[in-house]
Amino acid sequence: MTSEVKIPDPIDLDRAEEARLRRVAGLAAQRTTPAGEYAGFESVGLPELPPQTERERQVYTLEEGEMLVNMGPQHPSTHGVMRLVVKVRGEVVTDIDPVLGYLHRGIEKLCEEATYTTVLTYVDPMDYLSTMHNEHAPAIAFEKLYGITPPRRAEYIRALVVELNRIFSHSLMMGFLALDMGGITPILYGFINRDEIVDMLSAISGQRMLFNFFRVGGVNWDTNDEFLSRLGTWRGNVLKNVEMSERVMTDNEVFRARTIGMGTLSGKDAIALGVSGPNLRASGVAFDVRKAHPYSIYPELEFEVITQAGGDSNARYLQRLAEVKQSIHLIDQIIDKMPHGPVQAQVPGIIRPKPGRAYAAIESPRGLYSVYAISDGGPTPYRFRMRDPSFVSLQAIPKLMPGRLIADTMAVMASFDPVMGGVDK
């Protein structure tokens, strides 16, 4: 294994230099050893890669003048940990291949090993900007499986926290959209709004970000004084906050130049791609699960489905802005109508629903979020499937970006508001 390396005559060198040379020679000898001769390596071998798919060949075959740029996985504007392989010709994007999975935790598989109550804690870190929504759909699905209905007050508290969550998620989206174009101010307004709501929700649930508030058959806590006083203070200031961020963004010349006409998605394409929620409504399709398939107490509240005609980044921003105001309007109605009573049905700690299947869909800030749960009569779900809206919406990016500048990729992606915790599950 050792090869002969000539060491210079050591007479003229001191001992330290000799030792150094010997070390270098040893390293050189090691490096020239064929890999197969190391103990244990012959059995490992490199795994065979599967053959390229048609689409992969299309993306990764370069023509004259094209090159591939990796955006991410640690790029701050990929909204989490995602890699976009962008094929560019000069500064113009010609193709995009999103590479997912950097945040994959196998939550669906873990939930199949967890009791029904524990599942509601596992889904929290999925879409970390809409934690309350993450818990809402499984709670509804498990209640259908188990055959109970939560008390009226629990339903109202659920709707209240869910709408609060929607407001802070949309506020952050508007902030991040501006941040990805270089505007710092709106994200600060977004975080002011968000922190007030998160403090409020931590007062009612006991935790700051992963609230763990929903239970099968109700919610964990009733409202308390701190929550209500924070809610009152926030309600007094929120319209001013929204207006401030609106004034900075809506008529801003740079913002308009970089959003109007960018990433225009027609309603037909959006439906074909499975885009849902505010992104779909911004393309003119009036599909809102709260109206289309009412759940919880939404049939009792007065609201209209808002749509925009544009379908571009600016329309998606205006849609969020309108939905924030709509959610404030809904919160006013919920507080007015809030009944008294218990907040949790009588449910044992470990529930064993009868064998069956249940599907529950809700309107999360990113779109249609649904859960399909199968029970085999045991204490854990047999199959627990979550459909995350931003996972599906991401498919619009490779459709929209070819022909646009590479700098606009991030701006258009931010307008779809993907959250990688939800995308990668």
């Binding site: 599967p50 798919t53 999975g101 994959h104 669906e108 599909f287 289309a292 599907y359 499937r385 459909r387």
Partner: protein
């Protein structure tokens, strides 16, 4: 056909999924235009797979669930990316997690796991590490099971003192 309070369920065989879904989508009376979800279910090593589609229509008050049965030994299903382009990521996820092959899908590769990954993690015979010792695959890769390593062979081949040195260094 089977219904609960807000879902209508239809069972079909896997190879007819495109035909059935196309009628459901294009018939103006039915108009199930939105694919809400597409997911796979594994009913165990001796049973079958199921690809489950949930559809929405503005003409009907209920979700429509289409359950397509798939042979587990030879899991081939026609792709529905021709009907809804957005089914692409769903099908890639089903292939990645369950190993269901969608014929005609032009981008069927892993989406979450790395390309050289060999298993299908959401199958029911893929056990989580806590239960891995009970798995039929246990012992296939002895490097993962230190208690089975036979270190005496090393000292026979390399001479005495090798193991002692190795332990002393660590």
């Amino acid at each position: 056909m089977w219904t609960d309070e807000d879902t209508v369920e239809v069972s079909i065989s896997g190879d007819r999924n495109v035909a059935v879904l196309q009628v459901l989508r294009d018939d103006p009376e039915l108009n199930f235009f939105f694919l809400a979800d597409a997911a796979a279910v594994d009913y165990g090593p001796t049973e079958h797979f199921e690809v489950v589609y949930h559809l929405y229509s503005d003409r009907h008050p209920a979700w429509l669930r289409v359950r397509a049965r798939v042979n587990r030994a030879d899991p081939h299903v026609p792709t529905i990316t021709g009907l809804w382009e957005g089914a692409m990521f769903h099908e890639r996820e089903m292939y990645d997690m369950m190993g269901i092959l969608f014929d005609g899908n032009r981008d069927l590769r892993r989406i979450y796991m790395s390309p050289d990954y060999r298993s299908f993690p959401q199958r029911k015979d893929f056990l989580l590490p806590d239960d891995a010792a009970d798995s039929s695959a246990a012992g296939v890769r002895p490097l993962e099971r230190p208690e089975t390593w036979d270190l005496s062979r090393l000292s026979d081949e390399l001479g005495p003192g090798v193991l002692a040195n190795a332990e002393g260094e660590s």
